[in-house]
């Protein structure tokens, strides 16, 4: 089982704890080129997993490597959660590995210059910019269901990308 999530901050406390315990995640995979190529950032991510979680391992992959590893079937019997910083990366990953994504959780995307509000729930927001919106449209056309859910027990909110225009 693979859960897909977009989150600006990648790993953070409540989020990973609730998702990891609810779905018994074996591997939390950060998919981000910048973090993959920066030794310091990679070390911080991977060791933070060691420190705060018992049975879950944190891996840091670049988009290419993630696409290769996942499509190779290496993790087919494990529960995975893949975290990206933005939906464009998700799209590129899916294309690179020819991977079918059922649903994508736009968990937490903060306001940045150029971004507009797409969806808001009690304790999280989803702001996206023009390019990110395009990638979401493309994924929707590929059959990916888009939703927003911050914690594993929070309300799962459907996202309607038609409502937003730039």
């Amino acid at each position: 089982m693979i859960l897909y999530r977009v989150d600006d901050r990648l790993i953070h406390g409540q989020v990973t704890y609730s998702w990891v315990t609810q779905y018994s995640i074996d591997y939390l995979i950060i998919v981000n080129d910048e973090f993959y190529h920066d030794e310091f950032k990679k070390m911080v991510m991977m060791s933070s997993g060691d420190i705060s979680m018992r049975k879950t391992k944190v891996l840091v992959y670049s988009m290419e490597i993630a696409a290769k590893e996942i499509s190779s079937g290496k993790f087919s019997d494990k529960n995975l959660m893949l975290i990206f910083t933005n939906p464009i990366d998700v799209l590129n990953y899916a294309k690179a590995g020819n991977i079918k994504i059922d649903e994508l959780n736009l968990g937490d995307m903060q306001y940045r210059e150029g971004r507009k509000l797409l969806s808001k729930s009690l304790s999280s927001t989803v702001y996206i910019n023009k390019d990110e919106l395009e990638s979401l449209k493309e994924m929707k056309a590929m059959g990916v269901k888009l939703f927003q859910q911050i914690l594993a027990k929070s309300e799962k909110k459907d996202i309607d990308i038609e409502k937003l225009a730039f």
Binding site: D8, R9, L10, I11, H12, G13, Q14, T16, Y17, T21, Q22, F35, D38, F40, K41, M43, V44, M45, M46, S47, S48, D50, I51, S52, Q110, Y111, S123, T125, K153
Partner: protein, 269 residues
């Protein structure tokens, strides 16, 4: 005044940053969280290091007003790193990159270390006083908490400033933080065990009579392990929570079981 004066972080700077950092959450909003508190904490140092270059100063202020959120006590590590990087002349963008990389993981670690472990331990201590009706429960919680977090913030801030990235490496990949968290966790579990044994007084009044001899089940259970019933109840409640039940539901279940078994005289206080 000499042209190239290397600016250094002084111990006065350390102290000021430490004091200001207590107001990290002084003014938050859900869009940028602790950004304002962070910027304000580092403000005197921005003035010191970038004050004579309007472009840099503006950039520093803008970038340090961007979204920032982490566990408030762990933030001291980030402040230490920030000071080390500023002194080393690092790019403002590189510093922001460091902040973004560290804030997420530290939030997770800090939540479990401070709020999950330290708070649980001190609460256990305070509860034992409170149950006896003693007002000492209040200082018993507040004083150790204040001392611990102040020491934690001060030492992590200065240690990280001194050793920079190596400090973070040592704490994270080097296992320092993990050992600390594990040991603290062990103390926390011991406290929970002690609380359970000291304050849950549930027994069973069941007794068997056979051939004129009456044997009380409780005596038998005590011979195996004293406080076996409270322990079982506590572990069952824990298992239920682990499975994802809410605290309210678990309390309800305990209430119902207690009521039923109590009325059937299978359990007693």
């Amino acid at each position: 005044m000499p042209e190239t004066v290397e600016k250094k972080i002084t111990s006065q700077d350390q102290w000021n940053t430490f004091l200001r950092s207590w107001l990290l959450m002084g003014s938050i909003n859900l869009e940028r969280w602790q950004a304002l508190g962070y910027c304000w904490t580092m403000l005197p140092l921005f003035k010191k290091f970038y004050g004579d270059n309007k472009e840099l100063y503006t950039k520093a202020l803008k970038r340090n007003l961007e979204f920032f959120n982490t566990e408030p006590h762990m933030a001291s590590i980030i402040f230490g790193m920030h000071m080390a990087m500023m002194e080393a002349g690092a790019d403002i963008d590189a510093i922001s990159g460091m902040k973004v990389a560290l804030m997420g993981p530290f939030a997770g670690i800090g939540d479990s270390l401070i709020w999950g472990t330290l708070r649980t331990i001190l609460e256990g201590l305070a509860i034992s006083f409170a149950l006896q009706g003693s007002l000492l429960a209040v200082p018993v919680f507040i004083v150790p908490w204040a001392i611990f977090v102040a020491a934690f913030m001060w030492f992590t801030q200065t240690y990280t400033y001194r050793l920079g990235a190596d400090a973070v490496r040592e704490m994270m990949a080097g296992g320092l933080m993990k050992r600390f968290t594990d040991y603290a966790g062990m103390v926390g579990i011991a406290v929970v065990g002690a609380l359970t044994a000291s304050f849950i007084s549930i027994t069973t009044p069941i007794s068997f009579t056979s051939a004129g001899l009456t044997m009380k089940l409780q005596v038998f259970l005590d011979a195996i392990l004293p406080k076996l019933i409270p322990l079982t109840l506590m572990l069952s409640a824990f298992a239920l929570i682990r499975k994802g039940n809410s605290y309210t539901r678990v309390m309800l279940i305990l209430f119902v079981i207690g009521f039923i078994l109590g009325s059937l005289n299978l359990l007693a206080v």
